[in-house]
């Protein structure tokens, strides 16, 4: 234990004599947190907020100030205020309500600055940036109303089992997108850290708190004064400076967008290695199995001189993507697609999906008609024109029934598959089922074949493009996730198939002449049953 290790939390050296090998400062600090025992795990208040005396009001305390919202719960708090989940009944949506520390308002000129900053933040309209809906002041409390992101922040994601390098490499380009966009708009984030990088349930990255650091830490002369963390200070608005660029820590007035690129480098390093790049740190590829070329990207982002870093967030993205794209196909497979890309794929699959849906419905109707033909014929006293010859030409009535049952079954099954596949394709939900539907569509096995063939070919051309698969969720990842409620189409479809089979068996046993009616009846019962089961499922998943 002669070598000194570095505390992953505060970044200071851990002395060799430290008890249990833990960082003594962080251990001592842990003693302070007793008052915040009830705070959200993973977003526990840091010492800075405790010291600055900011106590987050409870949802009940806050409610009178914000009659336009139903305050649901406190999501987290820190040096920069507290965030609540709130519902906006008028629009029937959830929002995130951020309250700034009250003492900030005592600062002369704050109101003006607040308005100016909030207006520029509201202009940041990007898929990877948490949108600012509104801002203002209510009874002395300055607040932002922001997009509510249902998911976890990157810190929590790292905590609950960490990230694999491919996952990290899928996140970085999205952060770059958001940063590039805001930098183009002239907004520097200044506080990029895992806590501010949110990941929603669909794996999309959303960056929160753009520009807040500047708003809360700006000095009279306009220069950034993000004061480093001290135990006795009274004005901290920042947490620990672990992710700050060197020029930011020095309080230099020349902080520009390249500070964000440095912070991105720290986050990147941490995502890959689980550690912070402090002191004489090792290249990431020495710690985890990744392409050595990524070392260069990380290290260049972490250059202490801004001039030697990447000059644009886009450059980082380009480098990462070229390395990932060229080196390992597994990376590109695992790469969750951006929202833009998904929207594009969805629009390309729209027409084939609708076509398959129509063909599927035609197949289902055809199956029903064929099965009910004998009944019609008996009612009307004979087979309809077209089929009469077909039936008479072929030996007996029983054989004809058998053939029609086969045709009807094929029609029915392909109909179900096409409808299911079309829905999955349209929602970009299941790559496998979408692919199967496209293949079924081009097989001449059902009466809707003339309709389904062109759409099937169309769908196959789109679906088989190598990048399109990325727009669908990873099947492996899906199976590891919690059981999701089964889709309505598969439930109803399955129940219908089951009903039809039961009807066929019953018909064979009871009255072979009426086998078609039994099967149709079975399908109808299956349809009803499926609807009931689906409604039940929805009820459960709501809990």
């Amino acid at each position: 234990m002669s070598d000194q290790s570095i505390c992953p939390k505060c970044g200071e050296k851990i002395p060799a004599s430290a008890p249990a090998g833990q960082c003594p400062k962080c251990m001592m600090k842990a003693g302070f947190e007793s008052r915040d025992a009830g705070s959200v795990d993973g977003q526990a208040t840091d010492l800075a907020s405790r010291r600055s005396g900011f106590v987050a009001p409870s949802p009940e305390e806050l409610a009178p100030h914000f009659p336009q919202f139903e305050i649901v719960e406190l999501l987290g708090k820190g040096g920069m205020g507290a965030v609540y989940k709130a519902r906006q009944p008028k629009l029937d949506r959830y929002v995130a309500l951020k309250i700034l520390p009250p003492e900030i308002g005592k600062d002369p000129g704050f109101t003006e600055r607040f308005t100016r900053e909030a207006q520029s933040l509201a202009m940041l309209n990007h898929a990877c940036i948490v949108a600012v809906y509104d801002f203002g002041e209510a009874d002395g409390l300055y607040y932002f109303v922001m997009e509510y992101v249902d998911g976890a922040n990157l810190r929590q994601t790292i905590e609950t089992g960490g990230l694999t390098p491919p996952e990290a490499l899928a996140i970085v380009p999205q952060i770059c997108d958001a940063l590039q966009f805001s930098h183009d708009e002239g907004v520097v984030h200044r506080d990029i850290k895992p806590e501010n990088i949110l990941i929603d349930k669909r794996g999309r990255v959303k960056i929160a708190d753009f520009g807040l650091a500047k708003l809360l830490g700006v000095a009279e002369d306009g220069s950034a004064v993000e004061k480093p963390y001290t135990v006795t200070g009274t004005h901290q608005v920042m947490g620990t400076p672990r992710y700050m660029a060197p020029e930011q820590m020095q309080g230099s007035s020349a902080v520009d967008h390249r500070a964000d690129i440095y912070s991105l480098g720290v986050v990147f390093y941490e995502m890959l290695t689980g550690e912070l790049p402090i002191g004489r740190f090792e290249a990431p590829s020495k710690k985890v199995r990744i392409d050595v070329r990524l070392d260069e990207v990380v290290l260049r982002s972490l250059e202490s001189a801004p001039d030697r870093r990447y000059q644009h967030a886009n450059d980082v993205k380009t480098e990462v993507e070229s390395i990932v794209g060229a080196s390992d196909t597994r990376f590109s497979v695992a790469k969750p697609a951006t929202a833009d890309f998904k929207a594009m794929v969805r629009s390309q699959l729209k027409v084939p999906a609708v076509g398959l849906m129509v063909a599927g419905i035609v197949n289902l109707l055809a199956a029903a008609v064929i099965l009910l033909l004998p009944t019609f014929s008996k009612l009307s006293g004979g087979f309809p024109e077209g089929l009469e010859g077909f039936v008479e030409g072929k030996a007996t009535f029983a054989e004809a029934t058998f053939v029609s049952i086969i045709i009807a079954s094929c029609s029915f099954v392909s109909g179900i598959l096409l409808v299911l596949g079309a829905v999955r394709m349209f929602d970009l939900q299941s790559y496998g089922i979408a692919l199967i539907a496209a293949v079924v569509a081009i097989l001449p096995c059902a009466l809707g074949f003339p309709i389904s063939l062109p759409f099937g070919i169309w769908a196959l051309i789109v679906v088989l493009r190598h990048d399109v698969k990325n727009a669908f969720p990873d099947e492996h990842a899906k199976s590891e996730r919690k059981q999701t409620p089964t889709g309505p189409v598969s439930v109803v479809g399955g129940a219908m198939v089951g009903g039809m089979i039961v009807g066929m068996v019953l018909g064979t046993a009871v009255d072979q002449d009426k086998i078609g009616e039994y099967m149709v009846l079975g399908m109808v019962v299956g349809l009803l049953l499926g609807c009931v089961i689906d409604a039940n499922n929805r009820g459960k998943s709501k809990d």
Partner: protein, 249 residues
């Protein structure tokens, strides 16, 4: 780090005196009260190392420092030091240092008849032969007082850790302690809950809960330990802040 065990031993043994509080000693204010005397000696036992380090840093050789520390405790406990221990004595930490300073000045004068001035005593080079832990301290840039505070903070943390470990061991959860102890410092975000849960054969959620409980328990013990050394329980936060600063660079 086997050498370090030597000074951990008495600390570990000390844990059953956890109820001893400096406030009791101060409140008793009377050395003839046997309980207070015991309480004081137990506290001294727990916190001997910072005093020893302080004496060493003042330039005494290892054997001298050992003798001086021993003698100091003997004198402190024999003499009626407690008779003058009042509320103004403040924190146990400050009381001990003040008493030690007083003691050293007297002993020192007697032994060498030296006075303050240019003849600053240098660290003797037989440091390497002395207490192993002293060698591990990057003490060169610290004043003896700062070193004392720093050592005090470290000792206190170690007492807490030992108590904690003993608790987990008694509950048959020694392995759990090993796996979770990173939450006590800054390592919470680095805990691989998935792997830990697999090893302990529990769900990930339970593992997270376990880590959370451990942190909570640790906090309680830490505050309790600090409370032992201050006069008023409301001083705990202030003392924590002082010790936190003492650990700074």
């Amino acid at each position: 780090m086997p050498k370090n065990e030597s000074h951990r031993e008495p600390i570990a043994r000390e844990r059953h005196f956890a109820t001893t509080h400096w406030s009791i000693v101060v409140a008793a204010g009377d050395a003839s009260r046997e309980g207070a005397q015991d309480a004081l000696s137990q506290l001294c036992e727990a916190y001997w190392y910072p005093l020893y380090a302080y004496v060493r840093r003042r330039g005494h050789s290892a054997p001298d420092a050992q003798d001086l520390t021993q003698a100091f405790f003997a004198r402190l406990l024999e003499k009626q030091s407690l008779r003058v221990a009042k509320r103004e004595r403040g924190k146990f930490r400050s009381f001990l240092l003040a008493s030690l300073d007083h003691f050293l000045a007297n002993e020192y004068n007697r032994a060498r008849a030296q006075k303050r001035g240019g003849d600053r005593v240098h660290l003797s080079l037989d440091v390497a032969a002395g207490e192993s832990r002293v060698n591990l301290e990057p003490a060169h840039d610290l004043t003896p007082e700062r070193l004392y505070e720093r050592q005090w903070a470290l000792t206190l943390l170690e007492l807490v850790i030992c108590r904690m470990e003993a608790e987990y061991q008694e509950a048959g959860k020694a392995r759990q302690f090993e796996l979770f102890k990173d939450v006590l410092g800054g390592g919470r975000e680095r805990l691989r809950y998935v792997e830990i849960a697999a090893e302990l054969d529990m769900s990930v959620e339970n593992a997270r809960q376990g880590a959370h409980r451990m942190r909570k328990r640790y906090r309680a013990l830490l505050r309790e330990e600090v409370a032992r050394t201050v006069v008023d329980p409301s001083d705990v936060d202030e003392e924590l802040a002082n010790l936190f600063e003492a650990l700074g660079n």
